[in-house]
Structures are given as C-alpha cells and as structure tokens.
C-alpha cells in the first residue's frame, strides 16, 4: 500500500470521526444515529480485502472509541471483525451489482452492531441488554444501508491504486 493511499485512508478516519461526533448526533431518527465509521470500514474492506479491511476497521473503531464511554477497544474489535468478514465476502463476488453498496452497508451494519452489543454485554455493559437494542440495530442497519451509497465511491477513491488481486466486472453505486 503506497503512502498516498495511507494518507487518504487516515484522512477518511479523521473525517468519519469528526462527522460522527459533530453532525451525526443531530441526525438521529427515532433516537438512532447511523454508524459512519462502520460503513466506511465496510466500504474500504470491500475495496481492499480482508486483512487490510480488518486493519482499517481496527484503526477507525479505535479512533471512534476515544469519543465513546463504552470500553476502549469495543468498536475497534467489532469494526475489525466486520472489515475482515466483508473482505472475505467480497472475494466471492465475480461482479459488482449496483445494489452491492446498500446490501453490504445494511448487512454489515447489522452484523457490526450485533458484534458490538454481544461483546459489550460480555464485558459487563448491561445497558445494551434490552429489547430496544434489537430495534437500534435494525434501524441503524437501514440507515447504514442508505449511507453506504455515497460512502462506497469515497472509499473507492481513498483506496485507488491498491492491488487486491480480485478482478471484478461492473461498478459500485
């Protein structure tokens, strides 16, 4: 991975953290905000594959963790797992249909939220163990699916020039 790509990805992390902590708390629908960092992780992992996707997810999650009251490393762990999973899943696609961004955004967003809630519950964050958490996960996933439509092209720009070894026809969003 070249330095320009690393710089663009670092910029993407910074922008996602600033937006998530300033704009997105005001964009809640029924009290639920989208997870921009998670969507960015999904989009980047889709472009660069499992290893780099996991590393990017870890970095983005860790940066976001610094602004949350949940234990440091919780978002890093869930984003890394989802980055890895999306990276694996994208290798199975021979071509990229147009709906791939909302599909990955929604499914990845739900899975990422589920990992977050599960690990949080395991480490004693009792507030996540509630029926409302399912509602939050579903609504956030729907929000993430919409958000993925503009985020996927940005991730493609940020990872331009990265060799993934996966040849795919078609385009994303």
């Amino acid at each position: 991975m070249t330095w320009p790509v690393r710089l663009r990805l670092a910029l993407l992390v910074l922008v996602t953290v600033v937006l998530q902590t300033t704009l997105f708390p005001d964009l809640r629908v029924f009290g639920v905000a989208p997870e921009l960092g998670l969507v960015a992780t999904i989009a980047v992992a889709y472009q660069v594959g499992p290893e780099r996707g996991a590393v990017y997810g870890f970095a983005n999650g860790l940066a976001l963790d610094l602004f949350l009251q949940t234990p440091l490393g919780l978002s890093a762990l869930s984003f890394a797992v989802i980055g890895y999973g999306v990276g694996i899943a994208q290798t199975g696609l021979s071509r990229a249909p147009r709906w791939v961004a909302p599909l990955f955004g929604g499914a990845g967003g739900f899975a990422g939220g589920l990992v977050f809630v599960t690990v949080a519950a395991l480490v004693g964050e009792d507030q996540v163990i509630a029926f409302r958490s399912i509602w939050v996960l579903v609504l956030a996933a729907a929000y993430d699916a919409l958000l993925a439509i503009p985020v996927f092209p940005i991730a493609r720009w940020a990872t331009r020039g990265v060799e993934t070894g996966v040849m795919r026809s078609g385009s994303v969003a």
Binding site: L27, L68, G73, W135
Partner: protein
C-alpha cells in the same frame, strides 16, 4: 484468480482481536493511560470539531425539525396550554421567591445562585447509539473535572464523566449507567433514580412498598453520604406509581424535569471545597 495466504490473514485478525480485548480489559479495570488518551483525542479534535459544529449545526437543526415535525405540532399545542397555567403560577412564585432566598441563606442550600458554577454550551450529543451523553465546551482548564454535577435552571442534567483541557463529557441522568440518590418532596422517601435502557424516563429503585410516594410530586437529590451530587437539586417528577403485593419495592417511574433532548446551555457545579 487470486491466491490468498489464509494463515497470514488469520494471524493479522487474531493480533487485532487480542489487542482489542487487551484494551477493553485495561479500560474496564481502569488501568493504564486510557483516560489520558481520551482527553488528548478530545483536545486534538476540538478545533476541527468546533468548526464542524458551526458548519453542521444548521443542517442538524433543519433535519431535526423535519424529522420531528409531527410531534412539534402536538408539542406546540401542549406548550401553549402550559404557558397559560405558568403565567398564573408565575405571579404566585414571585411572592415565594423572596421568602425562598431568605430561607436559602438560613439553611445554606447548595442549589442556589451563589454556588460556584461554570457555565458551558452543549456542543454535541453522543456519537454512539448505546449511551446518553453530551459534550460541553468547558474542560479542566476552566475548572471542570470528573464527577461534578451538571444542571440547568430546571434541574439536574447529569455528571461529568470525562474532562479534557477544553471539553468535557456529561453522562445524562437517563443513561442506564447513571444512578442518582434522591428524596421525594413530601414524605422524604429516599431511593435511587436510575436510567433505563432506551427509555426517556427514570425508575426510582429501592423504595419500600410501605413508603408513601405520590404521582406528580418532585424528587430532589438527597446528597446522602457517598452521593456524587449536592443535596436539593430538583431531578424529576413522579409520573407513575405501581404497588404490587409481594414485591420488595414499589415500581415508580420518574420523568426528568430537564428536557434532555434539547440542551443548549448548562452549569457545572463545583463542590464547595474547590472554591478558591
């Protein structure tokens, strides 16, 4: 077709997971310089965040207005009705005000105008979906530190859980991690006002079924030993009381007096020992 090195893939993932679990463990146990790292991150991002706040706040306000249009209409009607009632009460309250000031001086009630406090603006809400916090634009350089009570004119907002040089994070009283030792207005019944997951109301825990709690009465911070909050700060109003036979405590639901969804300015109360 690409050939992947599955072993290396897994090694990277395992390393990331081990690092994450280590960080989580350290943070949960309160070990290591994690609090400092959070403070540093807040201070580094604060200038960028301030610019972003100014740029995005009109966008957020507009979107908030659109998504709450239906409820705003109902709320408008309700508030008009309340306004009429409050105008009547205001005249009566003015008479009580001077009497109250005199009594406050006598009793040295902490929740009064003369308490040492730091005024702050709420700059953003929580970035996550599983916590109820707000960020304020005052930090340790302004005398704000952890565990200080945060109030508005209407009552208790929460407490500071993290403070960097220029910003602080306030845990709202409706967060499930928040518990406030309170006392009811009339019968002086004590209990813990506890946040509830996904709810805008609080639950009053540890209230003996034999104790008297009435719907509509106010609850105040008790200021009992070990409490993080000074006494006599208005917290919430009792909206529901359910007593069931055989239960060890009453089911009491409280509604916070402060509108925690539209906080703009708050005051951070400094404990008496911090006064210069």
């Amino acid at each position: 077709m690409a050939v992947y090195r599955r072993g290396n893939r897994r090694v990277i993932l395992v390393l990331l997971l081990v690092t994450s679990v280590t960080l989580i463990t350290l943070d949960v146990r309160g070990a290591g310089p994690i609090g400092g790292a959070r403070g540093l991150a807040h201070d580094v991002v604060a200038p960028v965040a301030s610019v972003a706040d100014r740029v995005f706040s009109p966008v957020g306000d507009w979107i908030g207005g659109v998504t709450h249009a239906g409820s705003l209409k109902d709320e408008n009607a309700r508030l008009r009705k309340q306004l009429e009632e409050l105008r009547g009460n205001a005249a009566q309250n003015r008479a009580f005000e001077s009497e109250n000031q005199e009594l406050s001086k006598l009793l040295d009630l902490p929740y009064t105008e003369d308490r040492d406090a730091v005024a702050a603006r709420v700059v953003s809400g929580s970035p996550g979906n599983f916590e109820w916090t707000v960020q304020i634009d005052r930090g340790t350089s302004h005398g704000v530190s952890e565990n200080m009570a945060v109030v508005t004119g209407a009552g208790l907002v929460g407490r500071v859980v993290e403070a960097s040089g220029s910003r602080a994070t306030v845990l709202l009283i409706r967060d499930p991690d928040s518990g406030v030792s309170v006392v009811t207005q009339s019968a002086r019944t004590t209990g813990i006002a506890q946040g509830r997951t996904g709810e805008t109301t609080l639950r009053l825990d540890l209230v003996n079924p034999a104790e008297q709690v009435d719907e509509g009465e106010l609850v105040f911070t008790s200021g009992q030993d070990g409490s993080r909050f000074p006494s006599n700060i208005p917290v919430a109003r009792v909206v529901e009381v359910t007593k069931q036979r055989g239960e060890l405590q009453q089911d009491v639901v409280l509604r916070p007096l402060v509108d925690l969804d539209s906080l703009e300015f708050v005051k951070v109360l400094r404990p008496p020992e911090d006064r210069g």
